[in-house]
Assembly symmetry: C2
Homo-oligomer: 336 residues x 2
């Protein structure tokens, strides 16, 4: 199995290389539909959202005013990531979530803030528009007062896929926030409004890549180290904003399957057979990120981004194949 899947990975790379299409204008619906079938990342320029070009700190703080928004707080900038607790055990740790005004978040992100913790607006539950919005029912949002600036749909994407988004999210963070490597079962249109996002991407066929070890030497299962492993769940917690955050295990939450590769950009953390692609999305640019692509995300400066998640096509082969590629290296398939 290992040899067959690493063979698949190398064939995929032989055929596609590290190529990423760059479009100087957004695609038509039909062009986008063809890109969805190819299912490779595309850098798209020229997607104009005029309203968000005027988003400076003053405007954002004034527009949201007294509205309380949910912000992830961690001591290390790694929300939703594998973290070692003081006793040496590894946990999948969710951030502490604090409510604050936009003006407070923006001051926390200032290099002069003097706060030891890292604040990241990444509520990502459709924090601007959720699926309820598209179903036409009441959809409260912490960012309701910003909605007039944020289109609920990307026309060429909605028409190309023949559906509305499942979630639209606003992301605001600093250079200290990192999103650990993972995949989503969504077609993702990711637009940077301010700053830059640095994506490290791996194709779905590279899911077999082990942490710091070459899989080709390990042709037999059970494999001791998967890219994804089960981790016990924990949460960063504090009783008051003055206290330090502590990692609290959550014994009643089931373990989470998550990548063991903390930083794919560090030498030796991926096997030499892996095929990472690094791409920077600057303000005004958009990334089309297809479902199943592994992505690790860093930011330069304070960065504001928007993304539109559309459900991937579940009919046909795509989902089954992505699931197959993940299961090949998890336990589930072997335990049946």
């Amino acid at each position: 199995m290992a040899s067959a899947v690493s063979h698949l990975s190398s064939e995929y790379h032989d055929l596609n290389g590290d190529h990423i299409d760059v479009l100087e204008q957004p695609p038509t619906a039909l062009e986008f539909s063809r890109l969805v079938h190819i299912s490779r990342p595309v850098l798209i320029r020229g997607m104009q959202i005029p309203s968000v070009q005027f988003w400076d700190d003053e405007y954002l703080a004034a527009t949201l005013g007294e509205t309380e928004i949910s912000v992830a707080v961690t001591p290390n900038g790694r929300a939703d990531a594998v973290t070692q607790s003081p006793d040496g055990k590894l946990y999948f740790v969710e951030p502490h979530v604090e409510s604050m005004k936009m003006s407070e978040l923006l001051s926390k992100l200032s290099p002069e803030a003097g706060d030891p913790n890292i604040y990241y607006l990444q509520s990502q539950n459709g924090n601007v528009y959720s699926s309820r919005f598209f179903e036409g029912v009441h959809d409260p949002s912490e960012f309701e007062l910003l909605r007039h600036d944020i289109p609920s749909e990307i026309p060429w994407c909605s028409e190309g896929l023949g559906k509305s988004p499942d979630a639209v999210n606003l992301w605001i963070g600093s250079i200290h926030s990192v999103t650990s490597i993972h995949t989503d079962p969504y077609e993702n249109i990711y637009t940077v409004v301010r700053g830059s996002k640095h994506f490290t991407l791996l194709p779905p066929t590279d899911g077999w890549c082990l942490k710091g070890a070459t899989v080709t030497a390990a042709l037999d299962y059970p494999l001791m180290h998967f890219l994804e492993r089960m981790y016990p769940h924990g949460t960063w917690t504090r009783k008051s904003p003055e206290e330090p955050l502590t990692l609290m295990p959550s014994p009643n939450v089931p373990p989470i399957r998550w990548s063991s590769v903390a930083d794919p950009d560090l030498p030796g953390n991926l096997p030499p057979e892996a095929h990472p692609i690094q791409i920077t999305i600057d303000a005004g640019e958009t990334l089309y990120l297809p479902p199943g692509w592994w992505h690790h995300v860093r930011q330069s400066d304070n960065t504001i981004a928007l993304n539109w998640w559309y459900d991937m096509e579940m009919r046909g082969m795509s989902w089954v194949f992505l699931s197959f590629l993940r299961k090949c290296w998890g336990r589930s398939i072997w335990e049946r």
Copy 2:
């Protein structure tokens, strides 16, 4: 490997069932592009090619007149199929090809012809339009005099895929002609003009199905029986139209990889885990057959059909995955 691939096959079937979409009108280019991404067969009604509705025998014979056309001749109706020679050995046998006028072919197809052999117009090399035609260079065709009746492109398909066909073929045969199960790396638009075609279809994930044996009992390789095996090459031959056809081995032609399942419609020839879909395409109907789908084709009555082959998308995952599914059960991957 066997368990993983049969698991994939069963997951694919759990998700998609035996469902085939039926469209009462041809899709738009964008709708077709979405169907290509789903990559499941679709029955399409209402695709009008007015000129071919007037194709009776008299018209076809008169239009082509003295033109010599290439017709496959076999004693068993199985051109390009695995056949047992008198010495008991199995060969992949190509048909004898004879030149004749259309009027002669049509009289051979008559039930009263009294000829023991089976005649099938299936030259399938782009016999109406080949890739040269679409490259704008000279493209001689035995059916040049019929071209004014046969559109070179299917507009919604060409626009949906963003390319012209690679080959357009005319097929004329009787109830005795059978096309043995195989796959093509093409997007296939297959229109029946007269009669009916009966397709038995298997998804690409069912390539593991063995002849009359359940693979689930055979979890280890080397597997002794593949759906596809290597067969020595042979040709049906005769020196004159009066002689009987004999199977002549072709020692200088490399062996051919071909399916070992002669007739997937006979009970026991496919394992119980296989998921064949049977669909009849009647005159005036069109089948969209995606690349990689296994198909076995029979006909009712004398049948005339046209098909447009478009190159499949080679970028991305589709081709790599189809190749992976075939290699899993061939020798090549294990011999590396």
